[in-house]
């Protein structure tokens, strides 16, 4: 593969994504303040040297909450992509390799999941199994499955018709071996691009779920709930909604730019 110069979008996207991921990692070990520590005396402070992003209605440090929220966002989105890849990619490979009934069953099953509006499905699952980060991951992960299954099946069907796959079949290799040796490596670019896109959708979905109270439960911080809580206080502390909102927008923007850049690199 020829390496081309990266586009500006790719660089900006990669930097933004790296910054948020680094922030999430850092939050695991250190935040300026304990994001859960209440200090009512300091409530609703505007940004200062002590609290760069100010404090919320309970006196918690907003920067620390954003950082811990990033950890939550990245975790939920990443794990739900892992679920989508872990189930969807094998399903897509099997559908493409076997064809016939297996293909029909797998793809029609996907259609059923796909037919539900994603957020509605997530709300349904969290409503049935109870709110919480784990159920949010499962809900978003299930929504990711058909996306990866379709992308994988489409790409794999194309590769199955290639002469090098024919040559592998002539070398006596079975569908499983061919899928691992020839198909997966050649689909990795496609899957990486789709993974980035699903990651960004996961971030949005997580924010949406926790906004309506179905994501991570208090006191563990999340961007969506921060937005929800800030909503009632917009008149008093306008910056309170600004920072978590910006965090969601910038992270999603970065992921999308990164995904676009990756797609251009893999478009051969």
């Amino acid at each position: 593969m020829k390496r081309r110069a990266h586009t500006a979008g790719f660089v900006v996207g990669a930097l933004l994504t790296a910054a948020f991921v680094a922030m999430a990692l850092l939050a695991h070990f250190w935040t300026p303040y304990d994001p859960q520590a209440l200090a009512i005396v300091d409530k609703l402070e505007p940004p200062t040297w002590h609290h760069w992003f100010g404090t919320d209605q309970l006196g918690r440090d907003v920067l620390s909450m954003i950082m811990a929220g990033a950890q939550n966002s990245v975790g939920v989105a990443l794990l739900s992509v892992v679920i989508g890849v872990g189930v969807g990619v094998p399903a897509g490979l099997i559908a493409a390799a076997r064809g016939g009934l297996a293909d029909d069953v797998i793809m029609r099953g996907n259609d059923v999941i796909f037919a539900f509006p994603s957020l509605l499905l997530a709300i349904l699952i969290t409503a049935v199994f109870g709110p919480g980060a784990v159920n949010a991951i499962i809900a978003i992960g299930i929504f990711n499955i058909p996306v990866f299954a379709r992308v994988t099946r489409g790409g794999a069907l194309d590769l199955w018709s290639r002469d090098y796959v024919l040559a592998a079949r002539l070398a006596g290799k079975g569908p499983l071996r061919i899928s691992f040796e020839h198909l997966l490596p050649n689909l990795s670019g496609l899957l990486l691009v789709q993974g980035t896109i699903q990651f960004s959708l996961g971030v949005i979905a997580e924010a949406g779920l926790s906004y309506v109270g179905l994501g991570a439960q208090p006191p563990s911080p999340s961007w969506g709930r921060m937005l929800n809580e800030a909503q009632t206080l917009t008149a008093l502390a306008p910056t309170l909604a600004l920072f978590p909102g910006l965090a969601v927008v910038l992270f999603v923007l970065g992921l999308n730019l990164l995904g676009d850049g990756l797609r251009q690199r893999w478009a051969r």
């Binding site: 024919l166 040559a167 592998a168 002539l170 006596g172 490596p185 050649n186």
Partner: protein, 551 residues
């Protein structure tokens, strides 16, 4: 002498500073057709683009190009737009992509008229109708409201030609117009181009890598090498008047006759064909009564799914050390038969015996047997996993061995087989993408040889190659077959290739083998009408016999 229609005067083209066309001069008179021939990279397509002033942005042009005495070089973009399509028509290689799939053919042809103004929609339609009639798309076949996907490849190319000639251009440029077409379609399109040029007094420039195609159509031939014309002669049937060494090499490639191994006489071939035995030895590959059906998509929920019989009781045999051709046009079922022979898809009926055992048995026995039949595919670009280095590619068939060879043994065998196909052991670490089409096809041959098979099947394996490279590969294959007592089954639509390399030939039409026998006998005295038609359609030069291979 009057001014020629087109004159190209000491034209040079550089791309990013690298000269690709150098001091090129030629002229085309009205009603005359000129063939530009050369291997890929000789600058012939760039020359065609230079005449149209459609060179890529990085290219710089020097010299003068005049059409009817007026210099095209130095014209404004608007002036050029007025000339392209009206005064110069262009036909490209790929009829699939030259047409807009969502536009009716009548509108596509009429578009040229409308773009150049001065005609009402109705008049443009009439002109489109006339142009389609002129290219032989009359009646329902050429109905103006058909879409490109409803047409065959040859019909699409006719539409493209109609669009190019609808305004009666003085000059028509055709760049490899028949390379993507079947032989019989190729013959029709070539005849059409020649007749149009003659009847309309149009100048024609035909660009091709194949001298046989050029010889069939043009009045003069200009041979291009490394960006310049090395020789220009009047076209004769046999083109024996070519003198430049490069032209001679191209001609030798077009009439191709690789040195054959120990003489296998026509009589012996015919006897082997008749009896199914050669020197009392059973055939290495015995294909008996293969039937393959495809289900056709249901038209409605209430109707039964239709069945299309792609292969209808086809049988053939291949003997040790023998080269057998299987020819037929696209849709004749030869690819379906091939897939059944390779055991990739199960036939409805019939069996494939390899070295006397059934290849369709499945399981362990099939794996063992598979070592003895390998294949080389058409597309040198799609035959290799782009992520694998050559060594890993070549070792893939080792999967068929019971005991995997050690790393040292692998390296040794890879080096050996690479040298056998004329590459070097150092190529093992390279990737296929870094290689040319010819080199890739050598790698594909090496991969097929690695398990020491008895039969190698070639699926259009030289069709995508340039004539010169094609000749080299065929030469290599002929040598390997003699050296290793290999049997080949050559599946192709190209009769010239079969004529050059096959001892015996099977002709396939609509799923059936309609004729078979010794190649020389079938080609000189065909019995079936279909064979006769195929032979009549193949350019004469390509079937020329007994050419001395003087260097």
């Amino acid at each position: 002498m009057s001014t020629p229609l087109l004159s190209v005067e000491s034209v040079g083209v550089t791309i990013d500073g690298v000269p690709v066309v150098r001091s090129l001069s030629f002229a085309v008179a009205r009603g005359e057709s000129l063939g530009l021939v050369g291997a890929s990279g000789s600058g012939k397509s760039l020359t065609a683009l230079a005449i149209l002033q459609l060179l890529p942005a990085a290219a710089r042009l020097s010299g003068t190009i005049r059409l009817g005495g007026v210099a095209l070089t130095g014209m404004s973009a608007a002036q050029l737009c007025a000339i392209r399509g009206r005064d110069i028509g262009m036909v490209f290689q790929e009829p699939m992509s030259a047409l807009n799939p969502s536009m009716r053919i009548g509108d596509q042809v009429a578009e040229t008229v409308r773009l150049h103004g001065g005609a009402s929609a109705a008049a443009a339609r009439d002109m489109a109708r006339a142009a389609l009639d002129a290219v032989g798309l009359t009646g329902a076949q050429g109905a103006l409201d058909r879409y490109p996907h409803e047409l065959s490849g040859g019909q699409r190319q006719r539409v493209a030609i109609a669009a190019a000639i609808v305004l009666g251009p003085a000059l028509l440029i055709a760049d490899e117009p028949t390379t993507a077409l079947d032989v019989s379609t190729q013959a029709q399109v070539l005849a059409l181009l020649r007749d149009l040029a003659r009847s309309r007094g149009m100048g024609l420039i035909l660009v091709s890598h194949d001298l046989a195609v050029i010889a069939a159509v043009t009045d003069r031939v200009a041979v291009m090498q490394a960006g310049t014309i090395v020789e220009e002669v009047v076209t004769t049937d046999t083109l024996r008047n070519l003198e430049h060494p490069y032209s001679k090499a191209l001609r030798a490639a077009a009439v191709l006759a690789p040195k054959r191994h120990a003489q296998y006489s026509v009589a012996a071939a015919d006897a082997a064909d008749r009896d199914g035995f050669r020197s009392r030895e059973a055939p290495v590959l015995d294909v008996r009564g293969i039937v393959r059906d495809y289900t056709v998509k249901r038209r409605s929920l209430w109707r039964r799914a239709g069945v299309l019989r792609a292969v209808d009781h086809a049988s053939l045999v291949v003997h040790r050390g023998e080269t057998v051709g299987l020819v037929g046009e696209s849709g004749s079922g030869k690819s379906s038969l091939l897939r059944a022979i390779l055991g990739l898809e199960r036939p409805v009926a019939g069996e494939v015996l390899l070295l006397g055992e059934s290849l369709l048995a499945g399981g362990r026995a099939q794996r063992r047997l598979r070592r003895s039949i390998q294949a080389v595919f058409q597309d040198p670009y799609g035959s290799f996993d782009p992520r694998w280095p050559v060594e890993r590619l070549l070792c893939e068939p080792f999967h068929l061995l019971d005991v995997q060879p050690s790393a040292a043994e692998r390296r040794r065998r890879v080096a050996q087989v690479l040298e056998r196909v004329g590459m070097s052991a150092a190529d093992a670490t390279r990737h296929a993408q870094e290689m040319s089409g010819g080199q890739r096809q050598r790698i594909a041959v090496a991969r097929a040889l690695n398990t020491e098979p008895a039969v190698v099947v070639f699926d259009e394996a030289v069709s995508a190659l340039d004539v010169l490279v094609r000749a080299q590969i065929l030469e290599l294959l002929a040598g390997l077959s003699a050296q290793l007592q290999l049997a080949y089954l050559f599946v192709t639509h190209d009769l010239a290739v079969v004529r050059a390399i096959a001892d015996r030939v099977y002709v396939m039409q609509q799923g059936r083998i309609v004729e078979h026998g010794a190649t020389q006998r079938v080609f000189t005295a065909p019995e079936h009408d279909y064979t006769k038609m195929l032979l009549a359609a193949t350019p004469r030069l390509a079937l020329e016999h007994g050419v001395s291979r003087d260097a």
